[in-house]
Symmetry: C2
Subunit: 306 residues, 2 copies
């Protein structure tokens, strides 16, 4: 491992710890989750997730405000909840029908289908409740809720998942595939970057923080790494083993999913992922050296093996 | 039909029209719902729902502010979306497995299970997006989002549904049953009343509107009619026909659900519903004659036949 890589791994690890601690705090606060749902909600949130989206929130807050603040921790937990809910529902028998996720039984296999549906519903609702209750300025709370709902809702992730299912075993062109991946995955990354920028701004009462131009750059960065992340995911499905992935590999092909390797071929997919990584890096230019960790993230996402 | 009843039916009808018009406006506004989800989302929202929860929002706004305002219409649409999502998910094969709802095929029977899961997810997210984008004061938006998330989320409706499934074919005592019904149904009614009161307050920039004491009364009213509504529902399941209900009757008994008739008997259930109606009416006392329509609603809910 090169020095930069080692250093990046350490920095990611420290963010993962912060997010896990924040999720743990919420799970152990009485009142948020009723006794009936404690076990499945805890099981879902305590899975060994990569926490990339929430790390992006924290790093983007740091980038504009110099450090992670309380609002950014809340936003990171909220986006992680929404991401976790989406995995639980996507894994259901009626959707992708997966038995394993992050190396453990999926929620409906560990418990049952009804519990998995309700646990997803619970996490989605809780994410908005958390933002509304814990963000320290109503204006910022509203902004963050809009970002998250737009990314996750019927014009974002949910629409992407629907289109993804519709595209199974059919032929879609490159434009449709890009739309699916943008909705299904990239908008949540864009949201993570924007949420971080917004949270960074809440700390500085004397102005400063992310201005609209900076936010635009962060959004651009998030969208590009998100799309790159999904293409890398498609590539991994055909090239990695189930043990590496912690979930069943080769499933996309078996299910006739619309993926980049299937539509444009493996080599072109790799080229596209590289191009997106370059564009993401370019979007960070105005932030100078402070954005190095986000550049390292971009590299690690395009080179990832799991 | 007595004069009061006729008049009430007319007043309810005018509120149902307002809510349906508001939902129609949202459905036809570009950007809220992506093309992939338009059909199932429209199907779900255009079902002939009773719109009781949203009517309560509008009436409670009228009660404290003298008329329905723009914020109340938004809040009414949001609570109707959350209610509709909960029905779609509850009807799924893994949950109550219902083929009919409101006299039409349930969402998963009309489309498929994956579509039904995603349509529910879409409506839940859209409700929060709507409140965050359209309520004209960030402070009020945050308050309304908290009300809705607390009522619908992992310490409310979702927990109630989970406990309801757990209680199937088991023996629960009266206290547990009341907790289930409170979480599953009554909190959403309490939320509707509170949302109306909060929206009423947003109109009056010179103070006035619902104060904390009035909001407490409205919450009390909502909780009592909500619990009464669920008991009436339990009673109808054993006494009404499927044609009357627009959904399969006798299902609770068949599924071994924990219901009031099953736990305390039919006569005691009727007595309890009457007691709750009286308590709901008592909570309205400080509002005088202006609350007459809410009193009529209480009556109609305890006497309902569908």
């Amino acid at each position: 491992m090169a020095v930069a890589e080692k250093d990046f791994a350490k920095q990611l690890d420290s963010k993962v710890r912060l997010v896990n601690k924040e999720l743990g705090r919420i799970l152990s606060t009485p009142g948020w989750v009723a006794s009936e749902l404690k076990r499945p909600v805890r099981y879902a949130l305590e899975g060994p997730g990569k926490r990339i989206r929430s790390a992006v929130v924290l790093w983007c807050c740091e980038l504009v405000a110099g450090k992670v603040n309380r609002n950014a921790l809340t936003a990171a937990a909220a986006i992680e909840m929404v991401h976790t809910y989406s995995l639980i529902h996507d894994d259901l028998p009626a959707m992708d029908d997966d038995d394993y996720r992050r190396g453990r039984l999926t929620c409906h296999r560990k418990f049952d289908e009804a519990t998995a549906i309700l646990t997803g519903d619970a996490l989605l609702t809780l994410a908005f409740e958390l933002l509304a209750k814990e963000i320290n300025e109503p204006k910022a709370a509203v902004k963050l809720i809009i970002e998250l709902a737009e990314a996750a809702g019927p014009a974002g992730m949910v629409a992407g998942q629907k289109a993804d299912l519709e595209a199974e075993n059919g032929r879609v062109n490159k434009e449709t595939l890009q739309r699916i991946h943008t909705n299904k995955t990239a908008k949540m990354f864009r949201c993570a970057a924007a949420m971080g920028g917004i949270c960074g701004s809440t700390m500085l009462t004397t102005g400063g923080g992310a201005n609209e131009r900076q936010l635009k750059r962060l959004r651009e960065y998030g969208l590009k790494i998100g799309l790159g992340f999904q293409i890398a995911d498609d590539i991994l499905d055909v090239s990695a083993s189930s043990v590496q992935l912690g979930k069943t590999s080769g499933k996309d092909v078996k299910q006739g999913k619309a993926t980049y390797p299937a539509i444009v071929g493996l080599e072109k997919s790799r080229g596209l992922a590289e191009k997106l990584a370059k564009e993401a890096t370019a979007a960070l230019k105005p932030f100078g050296k402070n954005a190095d960790v986000l550049r390292e993230l971009t590299k690690s996402l395009s080179n990832r093996t799991k």
